[in-house]
């Protein structure tokens, strides 16, 4: 039983380390916040034009980009930028971006997604062997 739980936790850790998990989670939370604070029922929002549907579009966009960032991590820089832009648009169009909280979560989450770099899927990152000689020089930057 314990081994099973441990395997699940290891699997989740590997899942989390191979994608921008926390940034994506923040983007999803930002989208949910923007939709929640819009206060419109969805049927009214769909029939009421842009003013009433903006929160669903922008909040839905944040959730979408968050989920896609988790599914397609190699495109996380693009998705992070889109998340930040949508979060900023939500501030203008959707009830101050869900009372500001949604916009803040979106900016932070989008930035985290943008800046994400893949880690190794193992439980711990392997420490460099002391016996292995350090490289004489490293290329910094791209």
């Amino acid at each position: 039983m314990n081994r099973r739980v441990g395997r699940l936790l290891d699997g989740f850790a590997a899942f989390r380390r191979t994608r921008p998990f926390w940034g994506a989670l923040l983007l999803v939370a930002a989208g949910a916040d923007v939709i929640y604070f819009a206060g419109y029922p969805i049927f009214f929002a769909v029939s009421g034009g842009w003013n009433s549907s903006a929160a669903y579009i922008l909040g839905g966009g944040l959730i979408l980009f968050g989920l896609v960032a988790a599914m397609a991590p190699i495109h996380s820089p693009l998705l992070g930028v889109l998340g930040v832009l949508v979060a900023l648009a939500a501030f203008v169009a959707a009830n101050l971006g869900g009372m500001l909280l949604g916009t803040l979560l979106g900016i932070v989450g989008g930035s985290m997604v943008f800046a994400w770099g893949e880690k190794k899927p193992g439980k711990r990152q392997s420490t460099p062997d002391a016996s292995t000689p350090a490289p004489a020089a490293e290329v910094v930057g791209r």
């Binding site: 590997a14 034009g49 842009w50 839905g60 979408l64 980009f65 896609v68 397609a72 190699i74």
Partner: protein, 236 residues
């Protein structure tokens, strides 16, 4: 890349689909907005607003009128007075423009106060299933005196109206249509002796296209155009 991720091609496809979905949804709703702006309620430039004037003070009004009627009904219950109306005047028939550009001749009435003594129902013609019942303990009033004592007049534009009022000797037995010359007589009397005539009535049916309450000295403390003390409002 680890084994926990879909292939590179699948990830690219997912991103493209997601971005396209977002853009298409956005554009679809933006188009909907511009379509609703094009079909503004009263036509381009608000050209289809009605041009109305109140009986007292000739205030100019420019409402945007739908063709939904507000139907006010007080059914007859023997010869009991169920409402009274003070200073009722019939200003005549006016051609009124609607939001869709069509016109209709409406009767323009004005009164200083309208009191429901027993019970009345209000519903709109766009929803026949629901109506609001007004059941006052003593009376519910529309109009009346403002805080300053000046009257709060109410003007109504009706497409049809029938009253059973205690007028002359006919009592509540004969329904009087809004076009009946007797109302012209009442109007003359009200103009000659303002603030004098209050008519009681047993039943009323009014198809109201538009109504407005106004006063030279509006209330700020408590005497508002609609007063419903100890009145039960129920929706059925």
């Amino acid at each position: 890349m680890s084994t926990y991720q879909p292939s590179r091609r699948m990830q690219s496809l997912t991103v493209i689909v997601a971005v396209l979905l977002f853009v298409v949804t956005w554009l679809a709703l933006a188009t909907q907005t511009s379509a609703s702006a094009a079909s503004a309620p009263c036509g381009p430039g608000d050209a289809n607003r009605a041009a109305l004037k109140t009986v007292h003070g000739e205030r100019a009004l420019r409402p945007c009128l739908s063709k939904v009627n507000l139907k006010l009904s007080i059914p007859q219950d023997g010869l009991r007075s169920r409402f009274n109306v003070k200073e009722i005047r019939r200003a005549g028939q006016e051609t009124v423009k609607f939001a869709d550009g069509s016109t209709e001749k409406l009767w323009h009435l004005s009164f200083a106060s309208f009191k429901v003594l027993d019970g009345a129902t209000i519903r709109t013609t766009d929803n026949n299933d629901a109506q609001v019942s007004i059941t006052p303990d003593k009376e519910a009033s529309f109009g009346g005196a403002a805080d300053s004592g000046k009257p709060i007049y109410t003007d109504v534009w009706v497409s049809a109206a029938t009253f059973r009022i205690n007028l002359l000797l006919i009592g509540c037995l004969v329904p009087i249509d809004v076009s009946n010359p007797l109302l012209a007589l009442v109007t003359v009397a009200n103009s000659a002796i303002p603030n004098a005539i209050t008519l009681g009535g047993c039943a009323i049916d009014m198809d109201i296209r538009y109504l407005v309450s106004y006063s030279d000295d509006p209330s700020s403390a408590g005497n508002y155009p609609v007063r419903l003390p100890n009145t039960t409002l129920s929706l059925s």
